[in-house]
Amino acid sequence: MLIYYLHSLENNKKKLYFSALFSILFDKRVTITMKRRDFLKKSAGAGLAAGAAISVGGYEKLWASSPSNVKYDMVAVMGGNPDAMFDLGIQELGGMGTFIQKGQKVLVKPNIGWDVIPELAANTNPLLLKRVIYHCFRAGAKEVYVFDHTCDNWVNCYKNSGLEKTARSAGAKVVPANSENYYQQVDIPGGVKLKSAKVHELLLETDVFINVPILKDHNSTRMTCCLKNMMGVVWDRGFWHSNNLNQCIADYALFEKKPVLNIIDCYNVMVKNGPQGVSKEDLVQMKSQIITTDWVAGDAAAAKMLGVEIEKIEYIPMAHKMGLGNMNLDSLNIKRIKM
C-alpha cells in the first residue's frame, strides 16, 4: 500500500494533488503550487515570444535585459581576496539591491561539481560564495538557496568543497539535487539540439537567479565558466554529451530563467587537467573576478583570462550568433579595477 502510494507520488499530477491536500492544513503551500503552475504557463508564453523575436531578428532586446541604471556591462577586479573583490565590484554595479528586490527568493548557483578540497579550486571559492549570499540578504532577499547537481557523490562534494558549511553559516539553504524527483521538465524554445530539459525545481520557484561559476580548463569544451555551469541545474547531462555538447550548452542559454548576475571566480584558476584537476600544479593564482550581466560576454572575458581564443570555445560564438549575449568585448562598457 505504502509503496504504491509513494509510487503514485512520483506522478506529477498526484504531487500537485498531494500538495493541495496539505495546503488545506497549511496555507503557505497554495501560493507556491500556484506559482509553479503559473510559471510554467508563463514560460511557455515567453518561449513563444522569444522564438518569434529571434525569427524577426530583433534579438538585442532579449539579452539587454539588465536594469537600466547599471553603469557597466562588466566589472573586472584584480588583486584582492575573493570577498574584498566582490565588495568592490558589486559596488561599482550599484550594489546587490540593483538586482534583487526586497522579499525575493534568490537562487545562488555555484560550481560544487567535484569531491575536491577548496585549495584545489575545482569548485567555487567558499569565501566568494559566502560574500555573495551576505550581499543577497543585505539587499533584502527573503531566502537564498544553494545547490548543484554534482558529478561526484553529492554528499562528499557538498562537504569536502566546504561550500555546504559556508553557505549555511551565511544563512542560505543548501538544497539537495541528487534525485530526479527534484527536477521538472521545461521547454527550450528555439533550441537546435536541446529542445527540452529537466531543470531543478528551485530554479523555477525562485524569483532571481545568480550564477557563480569558477573559471576552469575543460578537457573537451576547452573551458567551463558561466554557460557550462548550467549543466549543474539540469538532470540529464548524458543527453548533452551525446548530442553535440557545445550546441546543447548554447541552446540551454535560450531558457527563459536567465541569471541577473554572473560572478566569475578567477582567484585560483585551473589551467590544465580540468575540470577536476589532479594537483596544485594545475592552478595559477590570478586573483581576479569578473562580474557581468551578460554571460556570453563573461565567458568571452574568461576565455581571455585562460589564454584561449574565444572562437576555439565553440559554444561562445554559437551563443553569440543566437543572440544570447555579446562576445565582442571591445563593444562593451567594461570597468577594470586593480586593488
Partner: protein, 519 residues
C-alpha cells in the same frame, strides 16, 4: 538466581543490540563511523572467527570471548548478542499476538542428526573448499542480507515520503534518495531464508537456531559443560508444565526435571513463568555430571562422515583461472574479469573470506557495490562486486574496507586506496561519440580522477580520449559517465589480482599570474 530482572536485563541488552545492528545496516546517510561498526561487530561469532584465522591476532578474538562466555553462562550469545536470534524473538512475539497457539511450545525432541550434520558439513566445507556454506548459514550474514535487501529500501521509502513533505515546507534536512533495486535473482537467497526463518520463528520459537544454525549447535556443544544454567528445584516443582509450554527452545522436559542445555538459549522466560519459583539460573550441580554423553556424539561423527561424502559436490565452486585482460576493439564491451572491491586484494582472496553479510554493500555511499550473481561463479553468489553501469567508486572513499567484519576486504588507508588498481580502462573508439557523431563529449576524461583518461587532438577542433593504464585505478567513473548505449565506449576490465598504479605526475603550468587584464 530467580530474579525476574534476569529476563528484563536480557530484553534490555538484546533490544539495544538489535537497534544498533538495525541502524548500522539501514544507515542510508552514512552517519555512523566505521570505528563504531567495528566495535559492534567485534563479538559476532563467525565474522570474528574468520578475521582471526586470516590475521592470526588476538585483536580479532571476539569469538574466543564468546566461547569463554558460553563455557561460563551457556548460550547467552544467542539471546543477547545474535541479531538474527533477537529478530526471531521479535517474530515469536508477533506470532503469539496473531495466534496464542503459536507461543505454546512444549517439550520436543532435538533434531540431533540434522543439526550435527549441518555443523559438521559447515566445518568441513569451510576448511576444505571455502566459505560457501558458511555464507548461507552464518546468522549474522543472514541478518545483514535481510536488512540490506528488505529493511533498507523500506526505510529509504519512508525517508523519501518524509523528505517530500518537509521539502514542501522549505526544509531540506532530509533529501530524496532514489531506491536502486538489485537484480531480481539476488533476492532469491535472502527471500527464501526470510520465509523459512520467518515461519519457523513465528510458529516454533527458536527451532531454526536449534536445528539449522551451525553457531547455535556449536555453542550448544560448548554449553554442555557450562557453569551457569537453568536448574530445577524438585521440591518446589508442582509439575504444572507451564515452563515447557513457554520455552521457545522447546528444551524443558519438566517430567524429568531436565533442561536440555544444548538448546537452551538462556532467555530466562521460564524463571518468570514458573508460579512456584522452582526454576533458577545458577551454578551447575557438579555431582550430576557423568552420564549422558555418548549418544549425541556418536550421531555427530556419523553425520559428519555422511556429509563429507555427499554435500561438497553440491557446493563446488567454479575454478578461477586468472584471465588476462585483452584490449579488443569490438563494439561490444569485452569484459574478461569482474572488478572486485578495493581491499579485496584478489578475487580469489575475496571469495575465500567473504560471507556475504552485505555490510559493505549497504555501507557504500555510491551504491557501486552490488551483490554478485554469477560473476564469481555460483559459489560467490551475493559477494560484493563493482558494477560500473550502476555507479562508480569514489576516489576519496574507503568506507567498505573499514568495516568488513571478516577481513575479506582489508583496511586501506586513503593514500594506498588511491593507488590500488582494481582494473584497467579500455577505450572502444568505434563506440565513441567523438568518432560516431563528430561532436565534442569528453565525459570520461572529465570524470577521471587521475587523468588516466585524457584527450588528444582528433579531426578539426575535436579531441578524443586516450587511456594511460599505468595511472588508471579502475574506479569506473569513466565507464559510468560514458553516455553511449547499449555498449559503453570505455569500460573497466577487472584485475583478478589488484595491482599498484603509478602516481599521476604533474608539472607546473607555463601560464603565469597575470598583472594586467588580457581584455
Amino acid at each position: 538466581m530467580k530474579s525476574p530482572f534476569l529476563r528484563r536485563f536480557r530484553i534490555l541488552i538484546s533490544a539495544l543490540v538489535f537497534i544498533c545492528f538495525f541502524l548500522v545496516f539501514v544507515d542510508f546517510r552514512y552517519i555512523i563511523p566505521g570505528d563504531y561498526i567495528n566495535y559492534l561487530l567485534y563479538l559476532q561469532f563467525i565474522p570474528s572467527a574468520m578475521k582471526f584465522f586470516d590475521l592470526r591476532t588476538i585483536a580479532a578474538g571476539g569469538f574466543i570471548i564468546i566461547m569463554i562466555l558460553t563455557l561460563l553462562t551457556g548460550r547467552t550469545y544467542c539471546s543477547f548478542l545474535c541479531p538474527l536470534g533477537i529478530g526471531q524473538d521479535i517474530f515469536s512475539r508477533i506470532g503469539g499476538r496473531i495466534r496464542r497457539k503459536f507461543r505454546r511450545y512444549g517439550f520436543k525432541k532435538p533434531f540431533t542428526i540434522i543439526r550435527y550434520s549441518l555443523l559438521a558439513a559447515t566445518l568441513i566445507v569451510t576448511m576444505v573448499w571455502g566459505v560457501y556454506l558458511l555464507t548461507l548459514l552464518d546468522p549474522y550474514s543472514i541478518f545483514g542480507r535481510f536488512m540490506t535487501y528488505f529493511a533498507k529500501p523500506v526505510i529509504i521509502v519512508i525517508n523519501n515520503f518524509l523528505a517530500g513533505i518537509l521539502g514542501k515546507f522549505d526544509i531540506f534536512t532530509l533529501s530524496h534518495i532514489t531506491v536502486k533495486g538489485y537484480q531480481l535473482l539476488v533476492y532469491l537467497i535472502p527471500a527464501s531464508f526470510f520465509v523459512l526463518i520467518g515461519i519457523l520463528s513465528l510458529t516454533k520459537g527458536r527451532l531454526y537456531c536449534n536445528m539449522i544454525c551451525p553457531v547455535g549447535t556449536l555453542l550448544g556443544l560448548l554449553s554442555k559443560i557450562s557453569l551457569l544454567r537453568i536448574k530445577f528445584d524438585k521440591s518446589a516443582c508442582t509439575r504444572c508444565g507451564r515452563c515447557a509450554i513457554g520455552c521457545k527452545s522447546s528444551c524443558i522436559d519438566f517430567l524429568q526435571y531436565h533442561v536440555d542445555v544444548t538448546r537452551c538459549v538462556d532467555c530466562f522466560n521460564c524463571i518468570n513463568i514458573c508460579p512456584d519459583k522452582a526454576l533458577s539460573y545458577g551454578l551447575v550441580n557438579l555431582k550430576k555430571k557423568e552420564q549422558k554423553t555418548d549418544e549425541s556424539r556418536r550421531k555427530f561423527v556419523a553425520g559428519s562422515v555422511l556429509l563429507m561424502l555427499g554435500l561438497p559436490h553440491l557446493v563446488k565452486g567454479q575454478d578461477k583461472k586468472a584471465p588476462v585482460p585483452t584490449k579488443v576493439s569490438t563494439v561490444k564491451e569485452n569484459k574478461t574479469s569482474p572488478v572486485c572491491p578495493p581491499g579485496g586484494v584478489s578475487i580469489a582472496d575475496l571469495n575465500k573470506d567473504c560471507t556475504a553479510c552485505s555490510l559493505c554493500i549497504t555501507a557504500c555511499p555510491n551504491g557501486v557495490l552490488q551483490p554478485a550473481l554469477f560473476q564469481y561463479g555460483i559459489a560467490g553468489m551475493m559477494q560484493p562486486v563493482m558494477d560500473y553501469h550502476k555507479s562508480f567508486c569514489t576516489y576519496n572513499c574507503t568506507a567498505c574496507t573499514e568495516i568488513c567484519p571478516t577481513y575479506a576486504l582489508h583496511p586501506l588507508v586513503l593514500e594506498a586506496k588511491k593507488l590500488t588498481q582494481l582494473g584497467k580502462a579500455n577505450f572502444i573508439k568505434d563506440n565513441c561519440i567523438v568518432k560516431t557523431e563528430k561532436t565534442a563529449c569528453g565525459a570520461c576524461s572529465e570524470a577521471c580522477p587521475t587523468k588516466a583518461v585524457y584527450m588528444i587532438p582528433y579531426e578539426g577542433n575535436l579531441v578524443i580520449p586516450e587511456v594511460n593504464n599505468e595511472i588508471c585505478i579502475g574506479c569506473g567513473h569513466c565507464e559510468f559517465a560514458c553516455p553511449t548505449t547499449p555498449y559503453k565506449a570505455i569500460f573497466v576490465d577487472g584485475n583478478p589480482v589488484h595491482q599498484v598504479a603509478k602516481k599521476p605526475e604533474n608539472e607546473q603550468s607555463e601560464i603565469k599570474t597575470p598583472v594586467e587584464f588580457p581584455f
